[in-house]
Structure formats: structure tokens, C-alpha cells
Amino acid sequence: MADDYIKVPRFMGGPAGWISILFPAALFIYFAGLLPQIAQTPVMRGIDWVPSLGIRLSVILDGLSMTFALLITGIGTAVTLYSSRYLGDHPHYPRFVSYLLIFMVGMLGLVLADNLISVFVFWEVTTISSYLLIGFNADKAASRRSALQALLVTGAGGLILLAGIIVLGNIAGSYELSEILPQGDMIRAHPWYLAILLMFLAGAFTKSAQVPFHFWLPNAMAAPTPVSAYLHSATMVKAGVFLMARMNPALGGTDVWFWVLTIFGGVTAVFASVMALRQTDIKQVLAYTTLMALGTLTMFIGAGTHYAISAAMLFLVVHSLYKAALFLMIGIVDHSTGTRDATVLRGLGRAMPLTALAAALAALSMAGIPPLVGFVGKEYMYKASLGLDQGMIWVTAMTFAASALMFVAGGIVALKPFRGQLAETPHKAHEGPWQMLAGPLVLGALSLTFGLMPDLLGEYIVGPGARAVYGPHEDLHLHLWGGLNAALYLSLATFAAGLLLYLVHTRIRSALTRIENRNPIDFDAGWDRLLDGFKAFAAWQTGLIQTGSLQRYMAVIFGAFIVMVGGTYLVKGAFSGLPGLSQAEAHPVQWTVLALIAVGSILVVWTHSRMTAVAGMGVVGIGVSLIFIIFSAPDVAITQLLVEVLVVVLVSLVMLRLPYLPRRSSKNFRTGHAIIAGGVGVVTTFLMISVLGSDFDPRLTEFFEKASYPDAHGRNIVNVILVDFRALDTFGEITVVTMAAIAAYALLRGVKKAVPDDEREA
């Protein structure tokens, strides 16, 4: 097999490489060019997709989607450039970048779409591409499990989100965000508001990995490092946050919204940052700090004031910058040394100075140390949390705890591995290539630039973003130095607490390990139990329903028919309203046909030979086609006749190989079947009488009669309907006929090869 692989040219990973790099780069430049315009007013463009269902591919480009679009394309460029070296010689590299580009398109569509149905479709595109990317190393069982877990958790949330979108669309009378968002007051007052909110949050919380749906994200680190940096840190997991921010004008601002988001967000943030200290694999530390960031973002979007929303938008950018850089950095370290273990890595600074520089910039930003932009972000979060009317203490406390722990995580990730004496690693440490260094260095430099010039960020990105989420508001001013205020004191306290915790973090880690070993609640194992439960349930209900006995299937189908149709008659009292049978006067010819059918039916019931029964069925069928002829429907009659002949031939082919019917079937068995057969007969008779007795709406018949020859050039109305007026139906039918024939063929081919029954049981 290995010989079949296309040898990937070295330069930039070949065509797959440079296409994947140039595509996001070009888009980034395009979006960046629109920045000044977006800072003023949103731009919208669109095309109709399914006009009959009111589905448009319309685009909403405002501060919020612009922020995301820049992150997606900008970090996308860094990541694809990085991948061209990280995976450039991998045999499946072209496949990898295809997935990555599919994701990129999906994510861009998700943030740019103005139509909620389109948002959902792109949402699923990101879910599926995430599945493919997590499972990229498909030969590893852990990768496959993690990929499936992520797919099922986010996919289930996506389905609930779809339900919420449909309900919301019905209430608002449109799926266009531009028409839904201004109706916020009406939606919040609607009795279905709570249901809609919970369905949207189910989608957002699973996608953005909020507790208790968080467990898939650390597992998703089975993906190659560029994927972790891109999807599972900077962009895709923020789709849930994006959705909450986007829907804020329509769904936000209520007490439920406030408390659900701040509590889940706060718990996620603190739980995740504690768990981050527990990890030894640096990539896992980063995964948990990502969870912390997602929790914080959720909490501040929930808090809902202009300050809080601005803090969320600011932190969104800050986090993407430093976290993507850190992930890419640890990828370089992993590539170079062959390990990501925080307890092993030491003293890499001398061997990898540029990596160390990038790591330092990013980690300082993560720890919130001036003059990095992380400090501005943290200050702003404190300012926002202290300004809250309700929940001030909760949000401030959660922010404080999470920030202090982030400080520790920053040290673990970027300080310890680079300081001190160089430790033994599987490979000898060396600096990474420029393609891999470019991304983290540029991102780190941006963290520094924006830290020194925060107003640049405020004016073009965060300000317009907050306006899009919160609504019109006075301009936003970000400062590196905000004066001596409460936020600054909290920052200083954060540093102090963080420093203390860092000094004892190895002891905290071992303590946490002990606690975790005794902790009975394990989400990941719980997930396995849930899946096992599903499988057991599926096996149980399949055994219950799919008995493999054709007789039982028929009994259930016809029994259901009697109960449902007959039951409807009983409930509606329709039996009494039937026209009298005296109206039905029949011609002697019709009586003869009727007698023929009756004889055929009795023969079927009476005989012990399957072949005779089949022949009897044929007699019934021919009788029915005679009735069609009497009532001048030659096409139907011919078809019926031919089908009857074919059925007799087909069934007798099968029956020839079956044994004789048992002569003595039990009395209960026969009685039961007689009741079902009689019931079907009675119900069908009543059904036919009531159908014939009801007023016939002749509009369709008249239309076909009138239009058949002039419009469709045919005098045989039945055929004209089949091949012209309702051609799409016929097309569907012949497709089914063909598929059924092929499926039956495959089944019959399998009969011979099938394993014996006793083996199948096991």
C-alpha cells in the first residue's frame, strides 16, 4: 500500500500545501480590507437558495462575524503554513488539508450566515470536519473513540439546536437573523421562550464544551496539534460562544439567561482551571485552559452589560491569540524533543530560543501580565464583573479564581520547560523550521502590539463586535494603564495568588491526582456507560421487534391497521354515518366476478398446499382486474393482471422450495389469524364504502381531463399523469423499484453464504 501514496513535493507541502495556505491568507486580506467599513455599518449580501422554503444564503458581516472571520482566516493561515511542515511528509497530508479547508469554509459560513438554517448547516459542517480531523490518525483506537465522542456530543447538541431554530423561526416568522434579532422583546415574552433558550443553549454548551458536556474536548486532543490549535481552541469550540453572542439581542437579558450562563460558565471556568493543574501532558493543560476560556466567555456573555459583552469580545481575541500560539509552540516542542510531558521537559530555552520567545509572549498574555494584551483583557473583565448589578460577587470570584489558576498554567506551560538544566528527551532538542515558528511568533507579537496599543483593538475589533452583540453604545476605550482602581488591585491580588500556587503546583497536582482516583464521578467513563446502555437497549428492542418470523410481522402490521383505522372509525363515530348497502345494486356480471373472488379467497384459506394458495390468490387478483375492466380502467386492469401473473410466478418460485403447510396448526393460532383477517376485511369494507359515500372532489379529474391533450399531447390520461404531470413521483417509484430489485438480489446472493443459525446466535 505504501507504494501507492503520492510522494508529496517538499516545497510548502506541494499544491495541496500552498493552496491551503493561500486560500485563508487571501481571505484574511479581503476581510481586513473591509475592517474600516465594518467599523461603521454592517454590510449584507445574499443569494436565494431554496426560495420556496424561504431559505436564503444571506450574509451578515458585522463586528461580531468580522472578528470571527479574521480569527478563522488569520489563524487558519498560520495553522496551514505550520501544517505544511508538521505533516507535510505525511502520506495523507493532502487529505488532511482538505478536511482543514472544509472546516474553514464551514466555520466561515457559520459566522457569516444571516439565515439560521444556513447557520445550522454550517454548524454541522464544522462538526463533521472536526470528527474527521480528530480521527485523522484513524489507525489508533483512542483517536477513533475521541472522534466519535466529539461527533455524538456536538451532533446531539446540533440536533437540539435545529429544533430550537425551527421553533424560533416559526415564532418570529422568519429564519433571517436580521429579522429575528430586532424582535427580542416579543420573543422573550413568548410562552415558548424558555424552551427555545434551552434548545439553543444545548447546542451552544455542547459545542463550546461547558460542564457537564466538557469531556469531549480534552479527548479531542487526539487530533494532530495544528488541529487542536485551530479547531479545538481558536475557532470551532467558540462557535457555541458565537451563537450565544449572536442570539443575545433576541434571547439575552432575562434572569434565566443571566443565571444559566453565569453559573455554567463560572463552574466550567474554575473546574477547568483546577483540572489544568492536574495534567502532566502540556497539550492537556492547554486543553483545560481552553475550557476555562470558554467558561469565562459564556459567563461574561451571560452577564450581559455593555462592559461584560466588551470584556467577552476582548477576551475572545486575546485568548485566540495566545492559545493558538501556545498550541503551535507545544507542537514544535513535541516535534523536536518527542515528548510533551511537563514533568520531563526542562531547559529548552537555549536549544530553541525562538520557540521560547513565542512561548513567553503567549504565556505572559495568558497569565495576564502587562504589557501584554492579556493584562488589558483581565483588567477589563474585573471592571465588568465589579460593575454588575446582580451576581457581582459570583462573577468576580469565578474570574479571580480562574485568572489566578491561568497564571499557574502559564508557568507550567511556558516557563518550566524552557528554564534550568536541559533534560533528557527522546530526541535531541533543536529549533523548529520557519514555517512552524512564523505562526506562534506573529501571534505573540500581536499580543504584545495590542497590549501596547489597545485602542487599535478597541476601535476596529472589540468595539464593533460589542455593538453587534449588545446594540448601539458609546465608543469603547481600552487602556493598558487604567489608573489605580479596584480592577488593578484585583489584578495584583491575582498575581500574588498565582505566584503562591505556582510555587506549590507540583504538590497540588499530586493532591488532585489522589482526589481524582477516589472521585466516583467520571464523565468520560460515564459516557462509555451511556453508550453501552444505548447499545444494550438497541439490542433488546431489536430482539423484541425483529423476531424474524414473517407471520408475526404480518400479524403486527395488519393488527396495527385494524386498531388504527378501525379505532379512528369508532372514536369519530363514523360507522353510523355510512350509506346503506341497499344503494349498491350490482349487475349480474359483477356478481359473477364477485363469486370468482370469493371462491379464490376460500381456496386460499382452505388449502394445505402453498401452491394452491398462490393460485387462489391469483384468482382473486384476476377478479379484481376484471372489476377494473368493468369500470373501464383498462390501464389499471392491464397492470393489475400483469402484476398478478408475475406475483404468482415469483411466489411459486419461492414456495416450490418450502415444505408443505403444517396440517395441524393449533386452534388458537388459526383463530387468531381468522380474527385478524376478518378484521382487516371488515375495516377495509367500511373504509371503501365511506370513501365512495363521501363527496368526491372532481377538481383534479377535471383538470387532467382538460389539460391532458392540449398541454401534454396525450389522450391516455393515466399515462400522461404518470409520465408528465406527476413525472417526479414516477421517477421516485422507478428508483425504488430498481433499488428494491438490487437489494433483493444482494440478499438472495447472501442466502447461500450465510452462516448457520447456531453460529449467528453467538
Binding site: 419461492v654 391516455n716 399515462n719 408528465d724 430498481t738 438480489y745 442466502v751
Partner: protein, 139 residues
């Protein structure tokens, strides 16, 4: 089971049935018949042959795998529907061409609808024969 009478008459009948099936197909738009009925009659011809001689003989006489005929039929029907797109009309709008038409008459009508019906014929014919051949062979 070989019956001389059946085998002999079958030779005549098969040819007749096949011609008749095409006749039913072509006249279907104005008189009883059409692709579905035509396909059923055509399939009957080969089933008769399979019973009188053997499945292998019938399959050899058919030359093509019936499943391919069925799939081709679905393709022909779908393409005939798509042809409306060339005239910038909705899917499955009938396209008509009247050859040698004189005033008031319709001449020889050739239409996408006819091709659609031919597709139906092939799908039914191929589908049923796939099933019958498989049943006769495998059971």
C-alpha cells in the same frame, strides 16, 4: 422440467411478447399501455423463456445484466427530466418536437416524455428480471 410443447411455443411467444411490449410502450400516451405495462410484458417474455428453457439460457439471450438495464433506465428517465433545464424550464417539464407536422396535426411527436417512459420501461423490465433471475438461481 423440460416440456417440448412449452419450449416450442415459447420461441414464438417470446418474440411476440417483446414486440407487443414495445407496441404497448409506444402507444401508451394515447391508448392503454405505457412504460410500466410494456416493461411488465417484456419481463414476462423472458420469465417465460427462463421457465421453458433455463435461467442461464434466458440470461444469455438477454446478453446484458438486467440490473444494468434497470439502472440505465433510471438514468434515462432522470436525464429526460433534466433536458427541461436546457430550455430553462423546471425539472420534468415535457419537451416536444413534432416531426413532419402539418397544419393542425401533430406529425410524429418526439418528446422527453417518451424517453422518460422508455426509462420507466427499462427500470421495470430490468428490476423484475433481476429479481426473478436471482430467485431462480439462488433458491
Amino acid at each position: 422440467m423440460q416440456s417440448l410443447i412449452l419450449t416450442t411455443t415459447t420461441r414464438l411467444l417470446v418474440a411476440l411478447l417483446l414486440v407487443f411490449s414495445v407496441y404497448a410502450l409506444l402507444r401508451g400516451h394515447n391508448l392503454p399501455g405505457g412504460g410500466f405495462i410494456g416493461g411488465l410484458i417484456g419481463a414476462t417474455a423472458f420469465i417465460l423463456y427462463a421457465i421453458a428453457a433455463s435461467v442461464e439460457d434466458a440470461a444469455r439471450a438477454l446478453k446484458v445484466d438486467p440490473a444494468n438495464i434497470a439502472m440505465l433506465g433510471v438514468g434515462v428517465a432522470g436525464l429526460s427530466g433534466l433536458s427541461a433545464g436546457l430550455a430553462n424550464q423546471p425539472f420534468f417539464t415535457g419537451q416536444w418536437l413534432f416531426l413532419f407536422a402539418e397544419d393542425g396535426g401533430k406529425g410524429i411527436p418526439i418528446s422527453s416524455v417518451l424517453f422518460f417512459d422508455i426509462g420507466v420501461y427499462m427500470a421495470v423490465f430490468g428490476g423484475i428480471l433481476t429479481l426473478v433471475f436471482a430467485l431462480e438461481r439462488e433458491i
